[in-house]
């Protein structure tokens, strides 16, 4: 089957730097896996509801506010915190 993926792109998304040998190896393994899924995909199975997993509205929660942990408890379980907030390495999804 034709490759349905670009190994360089996948490696980039997974934050992996791969050698040429690894690329060849993983490409062939991924192709095998995709082959299995292609066999599955040939079955005519529209998105359906699994009746065994269906509940009615009685299983919903009422809109009643309950207790909270408090900032002190929340920050205590984090590796690092500051001023009631959880501290993480700088992540920027911003103009920079």
């Amino acid at each position: 089957m034709a490759e349905g993926f670009d190994i360089d792109h996948l490696a980039k998304l997974a934050r992996l730097s791969l050698t040429a040998e690894e690329k060849a190896l993983y490409s062939s393994q991924l192709n095998q896996i995709l082959g299995h899924f292609q066999a599955l995909a040939e079955a005519d199975l529209p998105a359906t509801i699994d009746d065994a997993r269906v509940v009615n509205e009685a299983a919903l929660r009422s809109d009643e506010p309950g207790p909270v942990l408090g900032a002190e408890a929340v920050t205590r379980i984090a590796p690092a915190s500051r001023d009631g907030q959880i501290s993480v390495p700088r992540v920027v999804d911003d103009e920079s």
């Binding site: 699994d50 929660r61 009422s62 506010p65 207790p67 408090g70 920050t75 001023d83 993480v88």
Partner: protein, 501 residues
């Protein structure tokens, strides 16, 4: 800001994220609200701690269904939730609970009204189709400080309805009109408050351009996280101009995710398609599929308020209101209902009531709330009627006194101000101020006869008798003068016609 040359057409689709009006979060019982100290509105379910299970909030589901009914969508038999996996610290569980295959709302449409040629002229109406809307959880808030970032999870788990349009919008003005209309519908149905200053409504804006007449859509860009209607409008204008510039320079448009810097009024690239996340969606194993009963749908259908443009058409066509007054009233459901109570108390003159409500009442309410002039800036700024000292029937009483000729329109304004101050009935104020116009027929008959006998008006009388209707007006001035303006104009007219008959 450049306007696209006419041979380019812009195609816009919006994803509008709205925080639903609930007390507790969507899958957890933690309360939520704006302005709390960081991480004070968090419980173990919000954080996805081991051993916790999400349970869906009924109110959030019902508000979503209500939205569907408001836009005429079909409410599916079932809806279910999926995990959208991604790694970012705004997300405590490393996945966001959302709906992918079976959303709670499918289809529907939103009527919009474009600005008219002037304030008192109604603009074009269009329908924008809704693709679907899904109920998901909001994520936490990040702030960046020095070398690190800080995370506040108060917002994580807040019920968020993501409303996705078809690419039906064709200009920045249409995008703006759509959002105003959507906000009015959401707030009038009580689905959401849509307070943009509190981040309760945020948009992702998909923009592409194509040559006019070409059917195939161009490559689109998505500008994320726009938190005001004006940012959406400015993004469309900016992005349209940028894409035209690129294509006319012989370059191509890259499918990319962009951000918007409102301060500098410019967009920037966040990531291109090569960096597109693979969210590895799969059905959430913790939340069973929900069957939505038709009884619930029927019950919620009764809560759907009259559509604002249906209301506007009814006001103009059935009640004879000028467009300007009708368009102001329908933007605010409470105000419109207040107006209708007044009309019920005095059905003879809806326009007279509408003018007082849309002008005098709104002005005085805004002034007393210290927000003068704020009203027409936004469709979502209803002035509080809770503190209104005048009751609808009292306003009707004032209009009736004017219609019966007891006081003049000018005097009505004065009485209105007094009513707003004291909350008294119009009739009480009219009597206390001695404003009642003279309706004593006997005295007035005498004055009318004296005026008719005056040779100075003989010419006018002759003209009137010869068939010139308007000539009668020349006689009214002298009568008014002799009664110091207190005579009832309707009565004067009747008496003149009787004596000249």
């Amino acid at each position: 800001m450049s306007i696209p040359p006419s041979d380019w057409e812009v195609v816009i689709g919006l994803e509008v994220h709205v925080q639903l009006h609930t007390r507790a979060k969507v899958f957890a019982s933690s309360p939520w609200g704006f302005g709390k100290e960081p991480n004070e509105q968090v419980d173990p379910v919000v954080l996805g701690l081991p051993g916790t299970l999400p349970v869906v909030n009924r109110e959030a589901v019902e508000k979503s269904i209500l939205f569907g009914l408001v836009v005429g969508a079909s409410v599916p038999e079932h809806c279910s939730w999926d995990r959208k996996n991604y790694f970012y610290p705004d997300n405590p569980k490393n996945y966001q609970l959302t709906q992918k295959d079976f959303p709670v709302v499918v289809g529907g449409q939103v009527e919009i009204e474009l600005p008219g040629a002037s304030r008192n002229v109604m603009g074009e109406h269009k329908f924008i189709r809704i693709h679907h809307a899904h109920l998901e959880e909001d994520v936490g808030k990040l702030s960046h400080a020095g070398s690190g970032s800080l995370v506040d999870y108060n917002r994580a788990g807040v019920p968020l309805l993501e409303i996705v349009t078809e690419p039906d919008l064709r200009s920045s003005a249409e995008a703006e009109a759509f959002l105003r209309s959507l906000v009015a519908m959401l707030t009038q149905a009580g689905v959401a408050d849509c307070d943009m200053e509190k981040g309760q409504l945020r948009c992702d804006c998909n923009v592409s351009i194509r040559r006019r007449g070409v059917e195939k859509l161009g490559t689109r860009t998505e500008t994320k996280n726009l938190n005001s209607i004006s940012s959406v409008r400015d993004t469309v204008i900016y992005e349209t101009a940028r894409q035209i510039r690129e294509l006319e320079a012989g370059r191509s448009i890259t499918q990319e995710t962009r951000g918007w810097n409102a301060e500098l009024a410019r967009g920037y690239v966040l990531r291109d398609k090569e960096d597109a996340h693979d969210y590895r969606y799969f059905p959430d194993p913790d939340i069973p599929t929900l069957k939505i009963s038709r009884e619930t749908v029927a019950r919620l259908a009764k809560l759907v308020p009259e559509n604002l443009y249906d209301r506007q058409r009814r006001y103009v066509e059935k009640l004879g209101l000028p467009y300007t007054a009708a368009s102001v009233l329908v933007n605010d459901r409470a105000l419109a209902e207040w107006f209708e109570l007044a009309v019920a108390a005095h059905p003879a003159n809806p326009s007279g009531i509408a003018n007082l409500v849309a002008n005098d009442l709104l002005r005085d309410l805004a002034a007393s709330a210290g927000t003068a002039g704020a009203f027409d800036e936004s469709a979502s700024a209803p002035v509080s009627l809770l503190s209104c000292p005048i009751k609808p029937a009292q306003l009707a009483g004032l209009v009736k006194l004017t219609d019966d000729g007891v006081i003049s329109k000018q005097q009505a304004k004065e009485v209105f101000s007094e009513m707003f101050k004291s909350g008294q009935d119009a009739a009480v104020i009219v009597d206390a101020k001695g404003l009642r116009q003279n309706s004593d027929t006997g005295e007035l008959e005498k004055i009318v006869q004296e005026v008719i006998a005056d040779p100075a008006v003989a010419k006018s009388i002759a003209e009137y008798r010869a068939g010139n209707e308007k000539a009668i007006n020349a006689l009214k001035g002298p009568i008014m003068k002799r009664t110091q303006g207190k005579a009832n104009p309707v009565l004067i007219d009747q008496l003149l016609r009787k004596f000249l008959g």
